[in-house]
C-alpha cells in the first residue's frame, strides 16, 4: 500500500488565500475610508460656504468658497435670512475608477446652514 503524504505547497496555498483576503479587505477599507475623508472635507467646505453666504446674504460668495476649495455648490438658497447650501465633491481618481468598475455610484455631498443671529443691542 502506498501512502501519499504530499504536503508540499499546502501552507503556501493557505497563506496566499489569506493574503488575497487581507488585500481585498484593505481595498474595501481604503474605498470606504476615502469616501469618509471626502465627506468630512465636503462638510468642512459646506460649513464655510454657508457662513460666507450668510455673511454676504447671497449665494455668490458661497459658490466662490466652494470653488476655491475644489468643490461645487450643487444647491443654495436663502431662507429667511439663513443661507442653506449643498456642496458636492468628487472621489479621489483611483477610488472613482474602482467604483466605476464595480458599476456603482457614490455621491459625496454635504449640507450646511448659516445665518445672522441678532443678539440685540447691549443695555
Amino acid at each position: 500500500m502506498v501512502v501519499v503524504t504530499d504536503d508540499r505547497g499546502a501552507a503556501a496555498v493557505w497563506s496566499l488565500a489569506l493574503i488575497v483576503l487581507l488585500v481585498g479587505v484593505a481595498l474595501v477599507v481604503a474605498l470606504v475610508g476615502s469616501v469618509g475623508i471626502a465627506r468630512a472635507s465636503a462638510a468642512s467646505v459646506a460649513d464655510l460656504a454657508a457662513v460666507a453666504g450668510a455673511r454676504s446674504g447671497s449665494c455668490t460668495s458661497a459658490r466662490e468658497v466652494a470653488d476655491r476649495n475644489g468643490m461645487s455648490l450643487s444647491d443654495c438658497m436663502v431662507d429667511d435670512g439663513d443661507v442653506v447650501v449643498r456642496v458636492a465633491t468628487s472621489m479621489p481618481v483611483v477610488a472613482q475608477r474602482v467604483i466605476d468598475a464595480l458599476g456603482g455610484t457614490v455621491e459625496i455631498e454635504a449640507d450646511a446652514r448659516a445665518g445672522y443671529v441678532d443678539y440685540g443691542s447691549p443695555g
Binding site: T5, D6, D7, R8, G9, A10, A11, A12, W14, S15, L18, I19, L22, V23, V25, A26, V29, A30, G33, S34, G36, I37, A40, S41, A43, S44, V45, D47, L48, V51, A52, R55, S61, E64, V65, R68, N69, Y116
Partner: protein, 140 residues
C-alpha cells in the same frame, strides 16, 4: 517483544530505522513542509496585516487633519485673529498647521508626515495634507 511493539507504535522509532537506500522508513520527503512554509508565510502575513492597520491609521489621521483645518478655518472665519486661531487650535501630535494669507483669501494648511511602522521600511514617510480656503475679510 512487548517493548518492541510499544516502540514500533512510537513514530520516532520508525525514524530511527533505515531502508536499504539509506532513507528513513516511514518518513515522507515532504514531512515538515507545512511547518517550513508556514514559517515563511507568517512574517509575510504579519507584514500585510501591519500595512493594513497602518493604512487605517493614515485614514484616521487624515480625518483628524480635516477636523483641525476646519477648526482653525472656522475660528479665522469668525473673526478670531490668525495667531489666536492657531494658538487656540487643538492640534494633535505630529501635525503642523500653517495659515497662508494671499490677497483676499486665507488658506489653512495642515500637514503630517506619517512614518511606517514596518522596521524594514524604516525611513519611508507618507506626506499627508489637508487644506481649506476661506475669504480673508468677512464683514456683516
Amino acid at each position: 517483544m512487548v517493548a518492541d511493539r510499544t516502540l514500533s507504535r512510537w513514530r520516532g522509532w520508525r525514524h530511527l530505522r533505515q531502508r536499504d537506500d539509506g532513507t528513513a522508513a516511514g518518513v515522507s520527503p515532504d514531512d515538515g513542509m507545512v511547518i517550513a512554509e508556514t514559517a515563511i508565510a507568517i512574517p509575510l502575513l504579519m507584514a500585510v496585516a501591519a500595512a493594513l492597520i497602518w493604512g487605517l491609521s493614515l485614514m484616521g489621521t487624515s480625518l483628524s487633519m480635516a477636523d483641525t483645518a476646519r477648526q482653525v478655518a472656522r475660528d479665522v472665519g469668525r473673526g478670531v485673529g490668525i495667531d489666536d486661531a492657531l494658538r487656540g487650535a487643538r492640534v494633535p501630535d505630529g501635525q503642523r498647521v500653517s495659515v497662508d494669507a494671499q490677497g483676499d483669501w486665507v488658506t489653512v494648511h495642515v500637514t503630517h508626515s506619517a512614518v511606517t511602522p514596518l522596521p524594514f521600511l524604516d525611513g519611508l514617510r507618507v506626506p499627508l495634507e489637508q487644506s481649506v480656503t476661506l475669504p480673508r475679510e468677512w464683514s456683516w
